[in-house]
C-alpha cells in the first residue's frame, strides 16, 4: 500500500521540507502527529501492521483534503477522526480477517516479565474491551474528545456515549479488583 501511492505526504517529507514548498509546514504538522496517530490506531486495531496501514491511508486522505482544515489547532482531532473512520472502514471490509486477540495477547506476555503487573492487567483488559466500549474510551482518553464530540463522531446520543464510557470503565474497574458499580440502565443501552 505504501509503495503504490506516489503522492504520499510522508514518503516525500524530506524533499518537501528541504525545499521552498509552501505545503511543507502542513506536511511537518501531519508528520509530527504520526506517533500519536499510530498509538491511537494501534489500540483500535490491536495489530501494529494494521495500524501502520491505517495511519498511512489516513495521512493520504488527510493530505488530499488538507484544504478543508481551516484551523491548524484542530489538526490533531481532525486526523484522529480520519484514523478512526479509516479503521471503521477497514473493520467493515476485513471483519473476518482481523487479528486474533489471543495471538495479540500472547505476545504481550513477554512484556509482563519486565513491567508492572497491574498495568499489564489493565492493558490486557483494555485490549479485551469490545470495540463498542474501547472506541469511545480511546477517543476520550487519547483523543481528548468531549462526550458531545464522541457522540457526533459515532452517530450516537450523548447519553449512549456516557453509558458506553461508564460501562467501559466499570469493566476495567472489576478487572482491577474494585467492586463494580451497579450497571446504569438507560434507554440508550447498547443494541
Amino acid at each position: 500500500m505504501r509503495n503504490s501511492q506516489p503522492e504520499s505526504p510522508v514518503s516525500s517529507i524530506s524533499e518537501r521540507l528541504s525545499g521552498a514548498d509552501p505545503r511543507a509546514s502542513m506536511t511537518q504538522l501531519f508528520e509530527s502527529m504520526r506517533p500519536d496517530l499510530l498509538r491511537f490506531a494501534h489500540w483500535l486495531a490491536r495489530d501494529r501492521s494494521l495500524a501502520e496501514d491505517i495511519v498511512q491511508e489516513s495521512l493520504l486522505r488527510a493530505w488530499r483534503s488538507r484544504d478543508t482544515l481551516k484551523d491548524r489547532g484542530a489538526a490533531r482531532a481532525w486526523l484522529l477522526t480520519i484514523v478512526r473512520r479509516e479503521h471503521a472502514r477497514l473493520y467493515e471490509r476485513k471483519r473476518l480477517e482481523l487479528v486474533s486477540l489471543d495471538e495479540a495477547l500472547d505476545t504481550q506476555a513477554v512484556e509482563k516479565a519486565g513491567s508492572d503487573s497491574d498495568l499489564f492487567t489493565l492493558r490486557h483488559a483494555i485490549m479485551r474491551l469490545p470495540i463498542e466500549y474501547r472506541e469511545p474510551l480511546l477517543l476520550q482518553t487519547l483523543g481528548g474528545f468531549s462526550t458531545e464530540e464522541i457522540a457526533r463522531e459515532l452517530d450516537l446520543s450523548s447519553t449512549a456515549v456516557l453509558t458506553r464510557l461508564f460501562r467501559a470503565r466499570n469493566k476495567l474497574r472489576a478487572i482491577c479488583g474494585m467492586t463494580p458499580a451497579p450497571d446504569v440502565s438507560t434507554s440508550e443501552a447498547l443494541p
Partner: protein
C-alpha cells in the same frame, strides 16, 4: 450521578459538584474512578503488544532469566559510578533491560522476520540471517526501531537502528552491566550493546556502513 462520574471522572458540572459534596458514597466512587482513570492513561501511553515476539515456553527460561537478572544486578553495582549522563544511551539501555529475554534467544531467526523488524524503520541490512537470534520492531521515543541480537565471537550483541535519533559523534558508555557505543549514521544513529565488557568497535563500524536507509521510511 454515577453515570456521569463513571463516564468522565475528571469532569464535573456544578450540579455534580454539589451532589458530591454531600454524598460520601459518590465522593468515594469518584476518587476511585479518578485513580482508575490515571492508570488507564498510563496503560495507554504505549501501544499494545509487539508482533511476533518470542514466547516464554521453555522450562529453563525463567531460571535463565533469573540468572541473567542476577548477573545484571551484580554488574550494575560494579559499574554504577561509570553510569553516563547521556540520555539517549540511558534510554537504549533501559529499553534493552526491559527485554531480558532478547539475550537468551538462541534460535535462528528467519530472513522474513528480520525484514519485518527492519521494515517499520525503513532500513535494509545485509546481515547473514544465521547470526541473528532476535529481531523485533520496538517502540522507542515515538517510533518503531529495529532491535536485533547478533551472535558474535564475543557472545550476543544487541543492535538498535535509531533512524530518528541523530548524534554528533561516536559515544561509548557503560551502564547497568552493559558496554555500548552509539555511532552516527546518515539518517540517525546505530546503538550496539553487549553484556559485560566487550570490544564493539568492529561491529559498530560494520553496522554504520551496512545499514541502508530507504527513502520512503514511515
Amino acid at each position: 450521578m454515577r453515570l456521569e462520574i463513571g463516564a468522565d471522572p475528571a469532569g464535573g458540572t456544578p450540579a455534580l459538584e454539589e451532589h458530591v459534596r454531600d454524598c460520601a458514597s459518590c465522593r468515594q466512587f469518584r476518587e476511585e474512578m479518578r485513580t482508575l482513570d490515571t492508570n488507564i492513561r498510563r496503560a495507554l501511553e504505549r501501544p499494545p503488544g509487539r508482533v511476533g515476539a518470542p514466547r516464554l515456553t521453555a522450562p529453563w527460561r525463567p531460571w535463565a532469566l533469573a540468572a541473567s537478572v542476577l548477573l545484571a544486578m551484580l554488574a550494575v553495582m560494579t559499574v554504577w559510578l561509570l553510569r553516563p549522563s547521556d540520555t539517549l544511551a540511558h534510554e537504549v539501555v533501559a529499553h534493552v533491560r526491559q527485554e531480558p529475554e532478547s539475550w537468551l534467544a538462541s534460535r535462528q531467526i528467519d530472513a522474513h522476520s528480520i525484514d519485518e523488524a527492519l521494515r517499520g524503520a525503513g532500513v535494509k541490512l545485509d546481515l547473514s540471517a544465521d547470526r541473528v537470534s532476535y529481531a523485533q520492531s520496538c517502540w522507542f521515543r515515538g517510533h518503531y526501531v529495529p532491535h536485533l541480537v547478533v551472535q558474535t565471537t564475543q557472545g550476543p550483541v544487541t543492535v538498535m537502528i535509531l533512524r530518528n535519533q541523530r548524534v554528533a559523534s561516536r559515544r561509548s558508555f557503560q551502564e547497568s552491566g552493559m558496554t555500548g557505543v552509539i555511532v552516527p549514521a546518515p539518517q540517525g544513529s546505530v546503538a550496539v550493546l553487549a553484556r559485560g565488557n566487550a570490544d564493539l568497535e568492529t561491529l559498530a563500524s560494520q553496522m554504520q556502513q551496512e545499514v541502508r536507509w530507504l527513502p520512503d521510511a514511515p
